[in-house]
């Protein structure tokens, strides 16, 4: 009977993660996550209340990222903005992951006309550029961080549905699934106990890779003014606020923008490492 048992992935193989680039990326992601969890540990400045007399000061010992047009510390605003931006990205990923996986699971497992209908639906979603779709959704929903997150998540549903369906198609006819069926397990039990766990790996790796794109999309919408209302800091809106001051205060848009860029790159490197892990597993 052992031959029929589903293959179980070893929990976390760290060897492939130990490359230098991956380590640096992991470090960057860890720091940003800590910013999100405990911003107070990293800066003593108030992110919302500034000193007007100290407006537009260049980066220095007192203000690492300089100050903005109202004399607020930009490093503090970036650190405190992390929580909202990262939470929005995670929520967007969760929306895409749950909804996309559900669609892909049902489509792949059921097959036939249901599969056709669901997949043609995702084709339509894929045909629309992601940011455009997000813009349309957020315009219908209204402004705010949560709504931006949902809008970005909706735009990623199709990608997740595709990958999940492919994985389900692969697993559906595996010997252990056939065996479970023959052993008398119900459809739901087979789907949830045997198909889902074995199809989930690449989908989770995709989630890690998508995170970078999603953070950029969330920041892009917040840059366009759909995010939190001022003075609440958010990565995208920090970059946007600095536009008017580029000629006199290069650091205003640049430094928060660099933080976004570095984090997105780091998440991408990490996500690819995880994806490689997933592939070499089998």
């Amino acid at each position: 009977m052992t031959a029929l048992r589903p293959p179980v992935r070893p929990a976390g193989r760290l060897a492939a993660l130990a490359r230098p680039a991956t380590l640096v990326a992991a470090l960057a992601v860890a720091v940003v996550l800590l910013w999100a969890l405990a911003p107070g540990l990293f800066t003593g400045h108030d992110p919302v209340t500034g000193v007007p007399a100290e407006r537009l000061q260049a980066p220095g010992a007192a203000h690492w990222f300089g100050t903005d047009h109202l004399g607020r510390d930009l490093y503090a605003r970036t650190v405190h903005g992390t929580s909202l931006s990262v939470r929005a990205a995670l929520l967007a990923i969760a929306v895409a992951l749950v909804a996309g996986s559900a669609v892909g699971l049902v489509a792949g497992f059921t097959g036939g006309p249901v599969d056709e209908a669901l997949m043609r639906g995702t084709d339509v979603l894929l045909a629309i550029p992601g940011l455009l779709l997000s813009l349309a959704v957020v315009t219908a929903l209204g402004f705010g961080t949560v709504k931006v997150a949902i809008a970005v998540g909706v735009a990623s549903v199709a990608t997740f549905a595709r990958v999940m369906r492919t994985q389900v198609l692969r697993v559906r006819h595996a010997t252990y699934v056939e065996a479970a069926r023959l052993a008398g397990a119900g459809r739901a039990a087979v789907l949830l106990r045997h198909v889902l766990p074995n199809a989930a790996g690449p989908v989770l790796a995709l989630a890690a890779v998508e995170l970078g794109a999603v953070i950029l999309a969330v920041s892009a919408l917040s840059f366009l003014g759909y995010g939190a209302t001022p003075p609440t800091p958010e990565w995208g809106s920090l970059v946007a606020e600095g536009r008017d001051y580029l000629a006199v205060a290069w650091w205003y848009s640049t430094l928060p923008g660099l933080v976004v860029a570095v984090f997105v790159l780091a998440v991408g490197v990490l996500g690819r490492a995880l994806a490689r892990e997933g592939r070499t597993d089998r």
Partner: protein, 554 residues
């Protein structure tokens, strides 16, 4: 049965591509603004200004999108920059003296009780479609504004409040009749809101008029208008009825004016320095060095009328409490607003009228920054500091929301700083940014705590328009026996000094009740290149291009 790497890689590559494309868009935005910011060239001219010469195209960057091009309907400054060039008014207010001078009307007589205004029109004036200006055109315009058009032309309608009709004596003589004394009407005839259009225009649907279906007699005619993008005007051939305040008679010098909408002030300034624009609106302080460094100049003129204020909605608690409103008056540091966010061209508000308005009284002593006194008033009214610094009364935090449309580009930073100042005394001010259309909707439905706006008008009667319960009544208050009677009385006062005294009392009464929290006086701040001359302001600080000219090469 594991997936081929191709199958699995496809979505991953897709994500990566998408990330890259979004990054590219963000990067392009930055690069555009950045290049514009650094590409400053020496554009100053060595020789002194030459003689005005006809010809050339003036490219003007507006700071916000116009509402449309119909002079009678629009109200924002950027809209009027465009619309004012297309139509003339019955009278002209001299920008220096404030006196009312002839324009399309050569002369006028006013009855002793200020209810009948007879205008004698100038002969030989034609509209851009070739038809002659007659008394019928004026009557059709006023009738429309007092009728159906009034809903979308609130400013013009308020000038014609109490309108009974227009009597026509002959082709060039008409009498406008009101049911009550109307001291403000003569000045109102000089405004863009009561500009004269051809009578056919009065029958056109209001929204089509905004898109350009209008016929005026101005020094320029509309060639094209694209909503949210811009407008192109061309010189009106045969124009020969400029007011006396203009520097020259006859046609305008410029061949064309191309207006485009550029919301980022840094891009406007960079565009001016790099020769993409000849003139730009809404210059912010951080852009002044760049404009002057490239040989340009910044023209400024303070707007008369109601300065930028927060007008409280008295039906919304806690703003129904006069003490809360009075505390707000003292909690705002207006000097800090101007010094931090705005340029030298702007002044802190010193009353409910801007200092350039006839009849203005200085009440800066009542608006001095005093956070301690503001805190004391709030404490005495039962608002005690809560755990997070925001005051609380009966479990309710002291939260207010300001509704604003970014028609003036400095508004966002100004309100952020006001919120910061109010937070220091325990008031949590939230910012709600809406579009101009949404703001109108919010205003009509009364859906706001504090309404942020300004109104430009070179007559103190603007107080009645904004504060009388019989007019716009943005405070949504009940009629009272102090403010309302004062505002009505000044309208019937023929003697200038007596009217000024009534207006002064009205300004005090509005502050007594804290019906407005004045912030700062708007100034028009226009950047022009060194080779552009004689862009001028009218009495209401709106731009005129009739005298403007560009040095021609060779």
């Amino acid at each position: 049965m594991y997936p081929t790497s191709r199958q699995q890689d496809a979505p991953l590559r897709r994500s990566a591509r998408r990330a890259a494309s979004i990054a590219a868009v963000l990067g392009a935005c930055l690069a555009l603004a950045g290049c514009a910011g650094t590409a400053a060239q020496g554009a100053g001219q060595e020789a002194g200004p030459a003689e005005p010469a006809p010809g050339g195209t003036l490219r003007f960057a507006l700071g916000a999108a116009p509402q449309g091009v119909d002079p009678q309907q629009v109200g924002t400054n950027v809209s009027i920059y465009v619309a004012r060039q297309l139509a003339d008014s019955l009278t002209d207010q001299d920008p220096v003296t404030g006196r009312i001078e002839p324009w399309l009307a050569e002369s006028w007589d006013i009855s002793d009780d200020l209810t009948r205004f007879t205008f004698h029109l100038r002969e030989g004036v034609t509209f851009s479609d070739g038809s002659d200006l007659t008394a019928d055109d004026v009557k059709a315009g006023f009738d429309a504004i007092a009728g159906d058009l009034g809903a979308t032309a609130p400013l013009a309608a308020s000038y014609l409040a109490g309108y009974e009709g227009t009597e026509i004596a002959d082709d060039h003589t008409l009498t406008v009749v009101f049911d009550a004394p109307n001291a403000q009407f003569l000045q109102a005839t000089s405004t863009v809101s009561l500009a004269v259009l051809a009578q056919e225009t009065a029958a056109v649907d209001p929204s089509e008029r905004l898109q350009g279906e209008i016929v005026g007699s101005g020094p320029f005619v509309l060639e094209s208008y694209t909503q949210d993008q811009g407008a192109v005007l061309t010189r009106r051939a045969g124009y020969d009825w400029a007011p006396a305040s203009a520097a020259h008679d006859g046609e305008a010098y410029l061949d064309r004016i191309e207006f485009s909408v550029v919301p980022e002030s840094g891009v406007r300034a960079g565009g001016l320095a790099s020769d993409q624009f000849d003139a730009v609106g809404d210059v912010l302080p951080q852009d002044v060095p760049q404009i002057e460094g490239s040989g340009g100049t910044v023209l400024t003129r303070a707007n008369p009328g109601v300065p930028f204020i927060l007008q409280p909605n008295l039906t919304r608690p806690p703003l129904d409490d006069a003490d809360v409103r009075r505390a707000l008056l003292l909690a705002v540091d207006r000097t800090e607003l101007v010094d931090t966010v705005l340029s030298d061209a702007f002044e802190p508000a010193t009353g409910v009228l801007a200092s350039t308005t006839p009849g203005y009284v200085d009440r800066s002593d009542r608006l001095a920054f005093d956070p301690d006194e503001a805190g004391r008033i709030l404490g005495a009214a039962g608002w005690t500091p809560g755990a997070d610094g925001i005051r609380v009364k009966d479990g309710e935090p002291l939260e207010l929301e300001v509704t604003y449309a970014p028609v003036f580009t400095g508004s966002g930073p100004v309100l952020e700083l006001v919120a910061q100042q109010l937070r220091a005394v325990g008031v949590d001010l939230r910012l709600r940014q809406v579009t101009a259309a949404e703001q109108t909707t919010a205003q009509q439905s009364g859906d706001y705590d504090l309404y942020y706006y300004n109104v430009t008008r070179a007559d103190a009667d603007i107080l009645r328009t904004q504060f009388s319960t019989a007019q716009r009544n943005l405070s949504l208050r009940e009629a009272d026996d102090v403010v309302d009677p004062l505002l009505e009385e000044q309208l019937g006062e023929r003697d200038a000094d007596a009217r000024a005294a009534l207006v002064a009392d009205a300004q005090d009464a509005i502050l007594d009740d804290a019906l407005a929290v004045p912030l700062f006086e708007l100034s028009q701040s226009i950047g022009v290149r060194g080779d552009v001359h004689d862009v001028t302001f009218d009495a209401s600080s709106r731009l005129l291009f009739h005298d403007a000219w560009i040095e021609q090469e060779g």
